[in-house]
Structure formats: structure tokens, C-alpha cells
Amino acid sequence: MPAKSRISPYPYWFFLPAAAIFVVFFLVPTVASFYFSLTYWDPFEARFAGWDNYVQFFSEPYLLRGTVNTLAFAVLTSGMKTVIGLLLAVLLTSGMMGQSLLRSIVFFPVLVSTIGVGLLFQELMHPTQGAINVALAAVGIDGPGWLTNPSLALFSVALVDVWRGVGLATLIYIAGLATIGPEYYEAARIDGATRLQQFWRVTVPLIRPATTTVIILSLIGGLRLFDLIWAMTRGGPGFSSDVLASVIYKQYQAGFWGLSTAGNVILFLLIALIIAPLAWWLNRRSIDS
């Protein structure tokens, strides 16, 4: 054992097993792919291409739309999960009847696989025969083409993603709420604050760490999301619900692997550019408070 372990009870060699696996199975291929993003690479050969793939990726006609969709989708789903998750968490810790059963119900969709969810909602959202529109028709509302209307398709997928993921946000918030000691609420009540004011002045500030976790995790997830969009719309109708991840996948599917890998690099940079400053800003403020 290296000398360090005699000095510190927290030896660096604890990193070794995890590092071995991580470096070999994640870092090495990822670095290799940076090289391949500079090649014309199809399943059978790789020819050097310089920056051509990046140029081609940026001149992709649907790139702008795809990037806008990606950002909009991530912000929308993250925002909804954060807000709805918090409200649900507050509701589910208020001591109401059937509380713990409800916690399980809300978390349940997290357990179902993406393809299962995708297939399920494809059927439910069928414009004429899907259960949702049939129910709406029963009360006289003409249900829209959830997945067939190009302006609506991505939004419908976002709704399903929130349905699926809000349980996890709620869980994190419930945990956070549990750590707020009742004395804070007491103090606020003595000061004459209404329940709403208690919420804003006590609850929201004190669960900032949970909020940070929820925002960061859901934003990364939203920016990278591929499975659900693919299962529900394949980026359609046409290209209207394409996000960067599905654009990248389509390049991969067409056999343009260098181009697809270049797209992956771009996506990673985009995520890093958004998340790194955000995480720093959020964490900084939590230390101060």
C-alpha cells in the first residue's frame, strides 16, 4: 500500500475499483468518440474528415428547431416537476387522510419502463379513438391531435414525462420537508403569518437544497431525453418534436456515425454550458443562506 494510507485514514486507493470500471468502460470510449467525430464513420470504415461533421451538423436544417425544442422541453419539464413536485410534497405531508397510500400512487409511474409508458400513451392519445379524446368528447370537447398535431406533439410528450417523473421530485421534496423543524412554523405563526405566508417565508427557503437537486437532475434529464420522445413520436410528425438527442440518433440510424458522434459532443457541451454555471449559482446561494 502507498505511504499515503498511513497518513490518511481516507486512502486514495478506495477510488481504484470504481475508477477502473469507469475509466475503461466510460471514459475511454468517450474520448475515442471525440476522435471519431472528426471522421466520416459508417459501420464499416472511418475516413478522416476534419471539422466537416461539425459543419454539417450545424447546417442541419432542423438543428435550430431541434435545439429550441431541446431547451424548451428541458425547461418546461424541469419547471413543472419542480413546482408540482413541491406542491404535491406539501400536500402529502399535511397530515391528510390516505397520505402514505397517495405517496405510493404518485411514485408508481416511475416504476414503469419508458417503452411501456410510450406505448400506453400512444394509445391513450390517439386522436379519434384514444381514451383521452373519447372522454373529452363525452363532455362535448373536441380533443386535439395530441401526438399528430405538429404544434402540440412535443408538449404532449412533455406532459407524459412530467407524469412519469414527478413522483421522484415529490419524494425528494418530502425528504427535504421532513428536515424543517416545527419551531420555524411556530415562530412564523406567532408572528401572525398566514399559511400561504408560512409557505413562502419558511418552507421555500429551507428546502433550497432539495430544490437544487430537483432542478439539476430534471434539467439534465430533460436536455438528454431520448427514450420517451422516440417511443411516442419518433421525432414526428415530420420533425416537429425532434430534440438534439433524437437528431443525433437519426444520424446514427442512417449510418452516419461520425456525424452522430459530433452531435453527441455538441450536446454534451451544451449541457455542460447550462448546468455548470447553474449548479454553481444555486449551490453558492445555499451556502450563503
Binding site: 477510488f15 475508477a19 470510449p29 471519431f36 397530515g95 387522510m97 419508458t114 411501456g116 400506453l120
Partner: protein, 274 residues
């Protein structure tokens, strides 16, 4: 219980039932129909209740592919979770206890695993060159690599709540570093360990894309892959498709029911420290 709480409860219960439960009733009802009835799936109750027949047909499809898939998925999940918990905790432990440039870099690198999408084809070549392609062992190692980011994040946060005094007491008693960790700290990490087990095992069990790339072949079929194959094969037999969805949701459900209570406790410290 105050009247308001009962009212809240009632309202919330009904709303939740509609939003969260009804979709599953949909799956359940259509899983019991005949192919013709299920071809336009709806909420109508089946004329003949074919639960058992559909169940048997689905399980028998392609030579009991579903049973083999259960086995494969379970092996992968259990194997990966075991390694993730031990190795991830070890990393989180040292990162939290020993703030230094090295550990900060290690932490950043681990988190990058959350952000960077994996590079598929280079990974396949790598697995082939070490002879692990199309093997369950290879798949396990892949899942560990991809899951380390989240695991390390959680462990690092939670370990912050365990006082250093406990470590120091053990060291004074003459414990070596690995003994301090495995005998003193790790047992105290039970809530977050359970959280990691639940969340990661659901995620690995439900993983579709990675086995699709790294574990092709009939003998290697995993649970999500059966659904994907069935979607191709049973395009006109939605009833079997829904039965399949139902059947592959059961194991995560069991895990969840089993560990439900511990999840909240585990999330408590992890989330609070951010």
C-alpha cells in the same frame, strides 16, 4: 382528524386515481382482451376475460423468452447494484472526508458521467476486445460505469451527516482504513444504500437502450427487449403487448413495495445536503 384534512384527502385521492391509476387500469383491462377487441384499445370491459390465456401465450412466446429475460435482467441488476453500492460508497466516502484537489477532480469526473451521453460503438469495440461483448458480465460492468455518477452523488451527500468522531474513535482503537469504512461507516449508510438500491435497480431493470446495443442475441434477451420485440411482432395483437407491459412492471413493483418506507429516510439526508 380535522374535516379539512379528510376533504383534502378525498379530493387528492380522487385526482390521483384519475391521473396516476387509470392509465394502469387501461393496461390491465386491455391485457385481458382478445386480439380483435384490443386492436382498438379502450376502456370497455372485455367480453371474455382472457387473463390466463394471454398470460400463458405471452410467457410462451418465442420459447419462453420472457422467463429467460427475467433471469437475465435480474442477474444484471443484482450484479450491478452490488458493485455500485460498494464501489460508489467507497468513492463518496473519500471524496467527502478528504477535501483536496484530487478528490474534487474525481468528483467532477464522476458527475460528468451523469452528463455525457455514452459513446456506443467505441464501447462495443472495447467490449469485443476484452471478450465481454454479448456477455452478462460485460453488461453488468457497463451499468456500473453508467450508474456511478448518481451513486457517488448520493453517497457523498449522505456521508456528510455521519460525524467524523465515529471514524476517529475507530482509528484510535487501531482500525485500518478499510475496517473503518466497512465496519463503522457503511452500516450507518443503510438508508441511502436502500435508496440507491431501489432507484438504480428500477433504472437498470427498465433500461432498454444499453442492452439493445451491448447485449444482442436471443439468449441475451432482457425484459425491455421483449417488449420491443413484441411491439414488432405483435403489431396487431395489442392485448399481448399490454400483458407484457403488465408482467415486466411487476418486479420493480415488488422492489418498491418492499423498500417503500426506507426510501424516504434515505432521501432525507442526501437531498438536504444537496
Amino acid at each position: 382528524m380535522k374535516p379539512r384534512q379528510i376533504l383534502n384527502g378525498g379530493l387528492a385521492l380522487s385526482a390521483s386515481l384519475v391521473i396516476f391509476v387509470i392509465p394502469f387500469l387501461f393496461v390491465l383491462i386491455n391485457a385481458m382482451k382478445s386480439p380483435q377487441e384490443a386492436s382498438q384499445p379502450d376502456f370497455a370491459l372485455p367480453e371474455r376475460w382472457l387473463f390466463w390465456e394471454n398470460f400463458v401465450t405471452t410467457v410462451q412466446t418465442r420459447d419462453y423468452a420472457l422467463l429467460l429475460a427475467y433471469w437475465n435482467s435480474t442477474v444484471i441488476t443484482v450484479g450491478a447494484i452490488t458493485l455500485l453500492v460498494i464501489f460508489g460508497a467507497m468513492v463518496g466516502y473519500v471524496v467527502q472526508r478528504r477535501p483536496s484537489t484530487v478528490t474534487r477532480i474525481v468528483y467532477m469526473v464522476a458527475l460528468s458521467g451523469l452528463m455525457i451521453p455514452p459513446a456506443v460503438v467505441p464501447t462495443i469495440w472495447l467490449l469485443q476486445s476484452v471478450g465481454l461483448f454479448k456477455t452478462l458480465n460485460g453488461m453488468i460492468l457497463i451499468q456500473v460505469a453508467y450508474g456511478l455518477g448518481f451513486t457517488v452523488l448520493l453517497y457523498r451527500s449522505f456521508i456528510g451527516t455521519i460525524p467524523r468522531e465515529l471514524d476517529e474513535a475507530a482509528i484510535i482503537d487501531g482500525a485500518k482504513p478499510w475496517q473503518v469504512f466497512f465496519k463503522v461507516v457503511l452500516p450507518l449508510l443503510k438508508p441511502v444504500t436502500l435508496t440507491v438500491i431501489v432507484v438504480q435497480s428500477i433504472s437498470i431493470f427498465n433500461d432498454f437502450t444499453h442492452p439493445l446495443y451491448y447485449l444482442p442475441g436471443r439468449d441475451n434477451v432482457t425484459v425491455q427487449l421483449t417488449l420491443y420485440n413484441f411491439q414488432s411482432q405483435f403489431a396487431s395483437q395489442m392485448n399481448l403487448l399490454f400483458m407484457n407491459i403488465l408482467l415486466i412492471t411487476i418486479p420493480p413493483l415488488i422492489v418498491f413495495i418492499f423498500f417503500n418506507r426506507q426510501i424516504v429516510a434515505g432521501m432525507t439526508s442526501g437531498a438536504v445536503k444537496g
